[in-house]
Symmetry: C2
Subunit: 355 residues, 2 copies
């Protein structure tokens, strides 16, 4: 962190920390926030001074565009503390680039790199006690931007607020995940905003996911909306299939998020000599592979869970249980990836960035 | 309005009105709000007491779900004052029903009829000076609901706020509207949320619309996302085509909003003996009709503008100008519909509801 940039930030520290009240052994995901937050307002065509201040509610006009027209984007990232108390980010440049791609797709202004990256670093430094050592512990970072301009005309806002909030996290275990393959509902349109981390994409998934939950499935595997024949994402994660010893995942597209964990797994698997094919997997292929026993594993990939193994899937009212693996590839990949993130293994890719 | 229900509302009146500062002759759409607003909070599985209070900013936690996952829906309605100073709503039951359909699709709780309808009536009554007489004047009503629960886990919120805000409006004239037929971008997926008045649907349209604006087109005519061959909506409105003396509009679907103005126009046109066909119009049909001269008119239909005539369209870099009509059907329909809304013509349909 370059010290000479510090003066560009307006920093107001909290009088006291809430950290003593936090039970770090029993953290629900994304529920507790650190002592400080960052915000930076955009108006008259430019970004103002970033402010770091005590975490607190913000005032919003009831006509703010975000409430009516959904201009809202975010990123999900993590900070990790190594055994030497150094704090590391994982490929933050990827999140920064994607954030501004999302901004463009939602007709929002791009956030300057200085505000996003330096903002993250300064904020994390101030709340560094909240990053706990030990594999599985992390600080979840949530940069986001909302349209704050007033008025209920359906047009892009002229004012925005960029914010960063931080939430301490434990490793994310969701239990045995059974998934339902979508036959009717969809998360994204061709020519739509499925590739953006836009708030609206998530709310669209809640109702179909709730229906799946009621049938005993934790997540939905989304298929293409036109034909429902191509397997695209798992809940809010990218999805991988292991058929025999090859890993398959769909190519990114306007319907599929360009996940940082997804692309890291592809690179890591290739380095390990695993055959990876980036192409659409068809529902019919999956059914055939499940029936002939060549389907070995399925897993979701994303920042929160890193890798989320799937134990079985349902399609057209038939449930297909995946075979138990002695040494699942999914967990081997997760272990190798998290070892890089926690600085327990050499980072030959140059993915980790010290704060 | 039944008086005995009044006590269920908590009413705090503004100390003084802002109305003297408002130039009712020069109103930009959706920019100025009346003295009061309504809110009603949902938590622990039930709705609390609706509150009517002075219009003011609200406090939101930065982790509120609406900012991150886009659970936000709304309705657009209008109140009209007749020559006897009575105030009328237009088919408010349709908006109420659609609001709760949107809520279900976004995994949000339904709002009770008492809160929505009685809330509208009480709020409008308190701010009735803001409804101006005279055709073209109206009070735009914006009921909406946002997810207020805290926490950045991608799941439906457990807390919500329903609100109503009111904005005085003049008749909405957008100038000569030229439209661009979408060849790449889309507003909705099959199995998605296009039929809901969900905030996320609108932000998805802003960027493609901005690109169209830069080419000199005010709006985009959305086509189906899978093939881009079917004409579906015009900007944020439903769209009608007059070919010879028949009016065509697409059937409602998961991709197309069930517009109140749309369905009113269909009924009104039928009563007037106009042939109406509710079916998808193909881009190829439109091009053929434009070329052979049988395409007479195109117009958008929605609450804000009622009817928005289109003067021409562009497709694959060719611009097609529509013929000027001596007596456009679009304006005849607009006139008949607004006469019903302003109580200047008999409401044979029973669409108008007195407050």
């Amino acid at each position: 962190m370059s010290e000479n940039k510090t003066q560009a930030f307006d920093i107001k520290k909290a009088a006291e920390s809430k950290i003593a009240n936090v039970d770090f052994e029993n953290l629900a995901f994304g529920n507790i926030f650190t002592d400080h937050m960052l915000y930076c307002d955009y108006k008259d065509g430019e970004w103002g001074t970033p402010v770091i201040c005590p975490y607190a509610p913000i005032e919003m006009d009831p006509s703010s565009r975000v409430f009516h027209y959904g201009q809202a984007i975010f990123e999900g990232m993590k900070a990790y503390k190594d055994e030497q108390d150094d704090i590391w980010l994982f490929r933050p440049d990827e999140n920064f680039i994607r954030f501004n791609k999302s901004a463009t797709r939602l007709a929002m202004p791009e956030v300057p790199e200085e505000v996003f990256m330096e903002g993250l670093k300064q904020l994390i430094n101030i709340d560094k006690e909240w990053v706990r050592k030990g594999k599985g512990n992390s600080l979840y970072l949530r940069p986001f931007m909302i349209a704050t301009g007033h008025g209920v005309i359906a047009a892009p806002s002229a004012q925005y607020r960029f914010m960063i909030i931080l939430s301490p996290a434990k490793s994310y275990y969701t239990g045995e995940v059974k998934v339902l393959i979508a036959e009717h509902f969809s998360r994204a349109a061709n020519g739509g905003i499925g590739a953006a981390k836009a708030a609206g994409n998530y709310s669209a998934q809640f109702y179909p996911t709730r229906l799946a939950n009621q049938q005993g499935y934790q997540q939905v595997i989304w298929t293409d909306d036109a034909t429902h024949t191509k397997l695209e994402e798992a809940g809010t994660m990218n999805v991988f299939f292991r058929i025999n010893d090859t890993l398959y995942t769909a190519p990114t597209s306007e319907r599929i998020l360009d996940g940082v964990t997804r692309k890291s797994i592809i690179d890591l698997a290739k380095r390990e000599g695993i055959n990876v094919e980036v192409r659409s997997v068809l529902v019919d292929e999956l059914l055939a592979a499940a029936k002939d026993g060549s389907l070995k594993e399925m897993f979701g990939a994303g920042t929160a869970a890193v890798v989320n193994p799937i134990v079985g899937f349902s399609y057209q009212d038939t449930y297909y249980e995946l075979p138990k693996q002695d040494k699942p590839l999914s967990l081997e990949i997760k272990d190798k990836l998290t070892n890089i993130q926690y600085k327990l293994a050499e980072d030959t890719f140059g993915w980790t960035v010290k704060i």
